[in-house]
Every structure is written in C-alpha cells, then in structure tokens.
C-alpha cells in the first residue's frame, strides 16, 4: 500500500507543470479562473498548443498520435491542468469520436479524420440526444434511409454542445425501424454544411448559448461516412460513453474550484469576520473538502485497478456521481460566499475584453451563473440516476 506516485510520475508532473507555466496563455487561465466565457478561438488556441506538444489526444494509442501515457500520467495531467486553470479539452472530437474511429472506423476513415481532429481542421459536435431520447438514448428517432450512395437523414438532435462552432457532427440515426430498440441504430458522420442541416441555439437558464438544436431535413450523407456496420451503431455509442473515464471524477477541476472558494471566503466577511471563520460556513467547506480528499483516493484506486489489468466499468458510474455532487456543492458554496453580490448579473462581464461596469468583487460576476450552468453535471453523460441504475445492475447485481 503506497499512495505516493513513483519518482518517474513525479518527474512527469514537473514536466507538465513546466509546460503549463511556459505555454498556457495568461489570458486563457485568467478567463478560466474567473469563470469567464472562452471564445471559439480561445479553445482552438489551447488545442493547437497541446497538439504542438503531442499532448492533445493523450489517451489515443501512440500510432495515431497519442503520447502513450499510463492512467496515472493522464490523471496527473488532468489534475495539473485543473490546478493551472487551463481550458478543458473540447471532448467531442478528441475524447469521443477519436476513440470510436480508432476502434470501429475503417482505414480510410482513420487516415482522413483523425489528423483533422488533431490539427483542428474539424470541430466536431455530438448528435446523440433527441427531444424524445434523453436518458433513454436508444429511443432515437432520427432516420437515415439508404438512397444509392447516400443516406437521407431526417430528424432532430438536441443539447448539441458548442454545435454553433462545429462543422461536423457524429450522429446516432435509425437505419432499421423493424429491429428491436438498440439494434437498427447506426453511427453516421455528417457535414453540417450539407443542405438541410439547421442549427438553432438553446439559451440555458443563466442566459448562455452553449447548447443547440440541430435539425435534419432530407440531408444527403455519403455512405462512406458510416462508422462500423449499419444497424450496429449502438456498439459505437456505448463504447464512446465508457471509453475515457479515468477523469470522469474531475478531481483537478474540483481541487481548483475549492482553492478558489477558499480564497473567496477568506476575502468575504460575515459578522465582521472573514467568512471562513464563520462556523456554519466553515463546516460546509470542510465537509466538501473531506469528501474530495476521499474521492481523490477512490479515483486513484480505480486507476490502479485499471493499471493492474482491470477495466473501469461501473466504477466510473460511482466516480461520476461522486465527482459531480462534489463540484456542484463547491459551486453552490461559492455562490453563497458572494452574499447579495451573487445576484447582480451582467452577462457581458463574462466575455473577454469587458471593461464596463463592475458590480461587487470580480469573482461575483460568474458565481451564480456557474452554479446554475453546472446543474448540468448531474444530468449529462447519463444522469446520476441512470448511473445508480448501472451500479445497481452491474455491481450490485440487483
């Protein structure tokens, strides 16, 4: 039993730290640290910096451009990026589609699409959820009907994160209406410039445009854009959802958020004393800190099991629930720490280059918006209730 990382892993940590100190642009980390919005070019800039170092697709196999990191190294990288307030890697191309193509794509697809993910030629978005298929993903109704060398796609996708920036979308479409639910689904790559594709924004409760609806009306998609076999897309869909989950707990993000909360609560006051000396507030912060310390070790235990040849299956469901609840609690406390200044909300103040009126402390500008925005954490990627169903079935055998 040894909770320490090896000397080599610590050396790797120093390497990551040095890289972040050297290469992470201050305007990006400042935005992340203060909960401001990242523009498309901000995200592209960070991807390009990581790609230049060979660290963008850090869980891809070496032959496709991955760095060949162990699970522990990936954990360290994510952790240090969180602490340094680096932008998160936009997951849709790198973390979601990439592994699916590597596992199920044909040679031509791999050769063409993978380099374009790395160099930023394509911005991918995810066409999974539909108005009638949320937690019940296999209920997708968008159809793809074969017509010569093309599929004709009709239907609607929703909750398409950052779809407004994307030129490509990977979709679950129904190619066989006769087959049972999970069969008859195919995994299709669609160029969003094709006639018949329309993107409409969904404004979320805090006023942000992060997600979209995507409509397909008679969209012609070349058959070579089918990944894997026709009607076997559910295999790809599931693989995508379980592939990269060592970081599902988001420990680095929570550690960074907790540091920020502590800084803020030392500056705020209640009863004429720093807020972190208020017994009830301090107790809430301490509780979430303890939960986070425990989760860090739980996460490392899962990683160690993977390194020992195990597969993170349903354990990642535990990490997802735990990790999202902890992050939501930290963001809730951050909102509380702002007191009345959590309410004033100037959306423009969250954009880069804003020089207008500032109300209250700088950290107050995003506190409530971040809290509301991150209610999504326990809903997306399989809601926490779905995760409990998975635990119940896969681990508990109920």
């Amino acid at each position: 039993m040894d909770l320490n990382f090896t000397a080599e892993e610590e050396l790797f940590r120093s390497e990551v730290r040095a890289f972040l100190a050297d290469k992470l642009p201050a305007h990006l980390s400042h935005k992340v640290a203060n909960g401001k919005h990242l523009s498309k070019s901000d995200m592209e800039q960070w991807h390009a910096i990581l790609n230049a170092r060979g660290w963008l697709a850090n869980h891809w196999p070496v032959e496709h451009g991955g760095p060949g990191w162990s699970a522990a190294e990936k954990f360290i990288f994510e952790h240090e990026c969180g602490l340094a307030n680096a932008p998160r890697i936009v997951p849709f191309g790198v973390s979601m589609l990439g592994p699916v193509l590597i596992k199920y794509g044909n040679e031509a697809q791999k050769r063409y699409w993978l380099p374009r993910i790395l160099d930023g030629s394509d911005w991918w978005c995810q066409g999974y959820s539909e108005p009638g298929a949320g937690s019940d993903l296999a209920a997708v109704k968008t159809t793809a009907v074969r017509d010569g060398d093309h599929y004709i796609v009709d239907g609607q996708k929703t909750w398409t994160t950052l779809g407004q920036h994307a030129n490509m979308i990977f979709c679950l479409v129904r190619t066989n209406r006769e087959a049972k639910k999970q069969q008859g689904i195919s995994f299709l790559l669609i160029d969003m410039a094709t006639p018949g594709v329309e993107v409409r924004p969904i404004i979320t409760l805090e006023g942000e445009h992060e997600v979209n609806e995507v409509f397909f009306t008679g969209v012609r998609v070349p058959v070579e854009n089918l990944v894997g076999e026709e009607d076997k897309g559910w295999t790809c869909a599931k693989y995508l959802l379980t592939y990269e989950r060592t970081n599902i707990a988001g420990v680095g993000l929570s550690v960074a958020a907790l540091e920020r909360l502590k800084r803020i609560s030392a500056q705020q006051t209640r009863n004429g004393r720093p807020l972190d000396e208020d017994p009830s507030f301090a107790a809430r912060v301490a509780r979430v800190e303890i939960d986070l310390e425990n989760m860090k070790t739980t996460n490392l235990r899962v990683i160690a099991a993977v390194a020992g040849g195990g597969v993170p299956g349903a354990e990642s469901s535990m990490l997802k629930i735990c990790g999202t609840e902890i992050r939501q609690e930290i963001l809730s406390l951050t909102r509380r720490a702002m007191g009345p200044y959590a309410r004033p909300f100037i959306p423009e103040a969250l954009e880069g280059g804003y020089t207008g009126m500032q109300v209250g402390p700088e950290a107050a500008a995003s506190a409530a918006a971040q809290y509301f925005n991150n209610r999504k954490l326990s809903i997306f990627g399989g809601s926490n209730e779905i995760q409990k169903n998975i635990i119940s079935k896969m681990i508990l055998g109920l």
Binding site: D2, E9, R287, I290, N294, T298, A304, I391
Partner: protein
C-alpha cells in the same frame, strides 16, 4: 502508487478472518457479550497466539508491525466479526502510550500486554468532557515522594478487568490546557480506586472510575510531567484509525447482508431488489462505503506523517466514518424492514456498533471542528 497490501499483511488478514469466521460466529459473540466479564479470556489468549496483538506494535516495542496499515488490516477484520475483546484499549491506546512515553521499566510491561497475559486500559475521558482531549479535571498532586490522584474517569473500556490503567491527570494549568497534563500508570486494585462496571448497547462492558486519594509512587509517572498531551493525542489518533477501520469492516458485512436480503425477500410477488427506490438507496450506500474505504486508506497512510497532516487526515476519516457509519446503519435497517429491528438478526448488532463508533474518541462534529482548526494551523 499501489493499493495492494504486502504479503505479510494479507496473510495476517487471512488468518484473522479465518479465525473469526470459525471461532467467533454470531452465537459465540452473543454468548460472550452476555457473559459476566463481557469478553472472553480464552479468545483473548488465542488472539495473542495468532500474533494479532503483536501486529499492532512496532518491532522496537516488541511487536512486528505497528504501522497504519497494520492497524487498518487488523481492525477491519475485527469489525467484520464485531469483536469485543479489548484490542483497542489494551494494545492501541494504553499500549501505545506506554510504548511512546514509557521509561525502561515501564516499557518492560509491554511484553505481557503483547502476549496477552496482561490487559491494559486507557482511562482518559471524564464526565462532561465530551471528547475534548485536553479537558482533564482529574488532579495529581505531589505528596512526599508520591502522587495523589483525585477525580473521575468515564466510560473506560474493560475497566473492570484491566490489570493496569493509563490515567491522565492534571498536574498544572486549567482544564482545557494542553500543557499541564501528565500520564500515570495505575495498577488495578490500588486503594482509592473504585470501579463500577456496566454493559454497553453495542456489546461488551465499560466502567466508571472514581479516584479518591489514590496514592502512586513517583515511578508511576508515564513520560515527562505536564507533557502528556502529545502522547494522548498520538495514542488517540491511532485509536481513531483503528475505529475507522473497524467500522469499514462492519460496513462490508452490513452491505453484503443487505444486498442478500434485497435479492431474496419478496413482496408484491417480486424481489424487493427490483424496486428502483431501493436500488438507488443501495447504490448510494455502495458509493459511500467506497468513500469510507478511501478515508481509512488516507488516514492509515498519514499515520506516520508529521503531526498536523496526520491529525488532519485522522479527523477527516473520523468525520467520514461518523457520517457514513450512521447512514449505513440506518439505511440497512430501513432496507430490511421489520426484521432489521430484531435482536436475532446479526445485522442489527452491526448497526448498533457502527453508530456507537461515532461515540468513541470524538464524534463527527468534534472531528469536523478539529479538521477546520488543524487546516487553519496548516495554512498559517
């Protein structure tokens, strides 16, 4: 990073688990807790033979373990069996205090403690101190070449059957001061010591001690005068780890039993484990128990660290175990329904122990405050 125990620890755990499974079943345990002494001398002797007591002491003290993960492995196994024999009081608390602070003559007592012929007891808590380690009212005053002790000690584990007590008393300062606490070795039967025993709800017995002009020779002072606090804190810290690991073992048993019940009990013509309302509660328990396991690992790993990080990790673990222990106890009773309320079901006894662990060496609230205070000192 490695979360596997060493070969030696795995073997120790295996033999202890086997012994408990074969020799310490629920009926045996029930008989033991209802017996007059509230524990079994015979089982105690066998624990000593198995090396269980020795595993809790360092080699320099005559044992062959004593590290955080030795304590964790042993007490997790003891928790699985709801063992009531006085390993915590004799080996961990009193034993560690003697090992850490004793002079040569006092440390010579360790051999008998390790081979089981002598049982030591830790008499520290007092009525009204409510877990606060430095709040010692019992006084020790010099009189001629001797010490005279007056005061009371509360809820002392195995107080009736100990051969020897480690007693804390104030030799300077006010109740609540860390400085000015001294430790003494008090042999059972010393005139002026009165012992009133009673059973506890989670099995076994404790005693209330009253010290009235108890006279001890100068050689009874354990460690330096007025400097007892750090010894107390160290021993109590090891006790906290032991209790947390014990709770983890008990949680494992409760989890297995409750799952088994969900898989076999039928209502409305179907297994109750098929109901989502119950599945989600069970999934929550699983998740919380894994978090508790991580808390124990963190505490065990920190046991030999410097004082502040060590004490902070121990406080974090006790907070986690306090909360999760009560949750597991309450939920498992609820998931069992009526049968969970009965004496005949072993589960109920695990539930009682899990809840009562929060009442030893500081509860969830106590350790949360401690965690906060230690964090401030670490940051300063």
């Amino acid at each position: 990073m490695n979360f596997e125990h060493t070969e030696e620890r795995r073997m120790l755990a295996d033999s202890l688990n086997r012994f408990i499974a074969e020799q310490y079943d629920f009926e045996t345990r029930d008989r033991i807790v209802k017996s007059a002494p509230g524990f079994s001398r015979e089982i105690w002797r066998q624990f000593a033979e198995l090396g269980v007591i020795g595993a809790l002491f360092r080699e320099a003290d005559g044992g062959f373990g004593g590290a955080g993960f030795d304590i964790a492995v042993v007490f997790e196994a003891l928790g699985r069996g709801l063992v009531v024999e006085p390993l915590l009081g004799s080996a961990i608390l009193a034993g560690d205090a003697i090992a850490a602070a004793g002079n040569e003559a006092q440390r010579a007592l360790l051999a008998d403690i390790i081979d089981g012929t002598s049982i030591a007891s830790f008499a520290h808590d007092e009525p009204g101190t409510h877990y606060e380690l430095a709040r010692v009212h019992t006084r020790a005053e010099r009189s001629g070449g001797q010490w005279v002790l007056n005061g009371a000690k509360a809820v002392v584990q195995q107080g009736e059957h100990a051969d020897l007590f480690v007693v804390s008393a104030r030799t300077a300062g006010a109740a609540g001061d860390e400085a000015g606490i001294s430790l003494f070795l008090l042999p059972a039967g010393t005139p002026g010591l009165s012992v009133r025993g009673c059973p506890v709800i989670d099995g076994g017995r404790v005693a209330e001690l009253t010290l009235t002009d108890v006279r001890l020779d100068a050689g009874a002072l354990l460690g330096a005068e007025n400097q007892g606090y750090l010894t107390l804190e160290r021993a109590a810290g090891r006790g906290v780890l032991a209790l947390c690991a014990e709770a983890l073992g008990a949680m494992e048993v409760v989890k297995t039993a409750t799952l088994e019940y969900l898989r076999t009990r039928k209502q409305f013509g179907t297994l109750i484990g098929s109901f989502q309302a119950l599945q989600h509660r069970m999934a929550d328990l699983l998740l919380e128990i894994e978090q508790a396991r991580s808390a124990v690992i963190n505490a065990a790993a920190a046991l030999d660290a410097e004082r502040l990080p060590r004490e902070r990790a121990l406080a974090a673990a006790k907070v986690s175990i306090g909360r999760i222990g009560a949750l597991v106890a309450e939920e498992s009773i609820q998931l069992h329904g009526g049968i969970g309320m009965t004496w005949e079901l072993p589960l109920a006894h695990y539930a009682k122990r899990l809840v009562m662990i929060d009442h030893q060496l500081g509860d969830e609230d106590h350790h949360l405050q401690r965690f906060i205070a230690l964090g401030k000192r670490l940051a300063a």
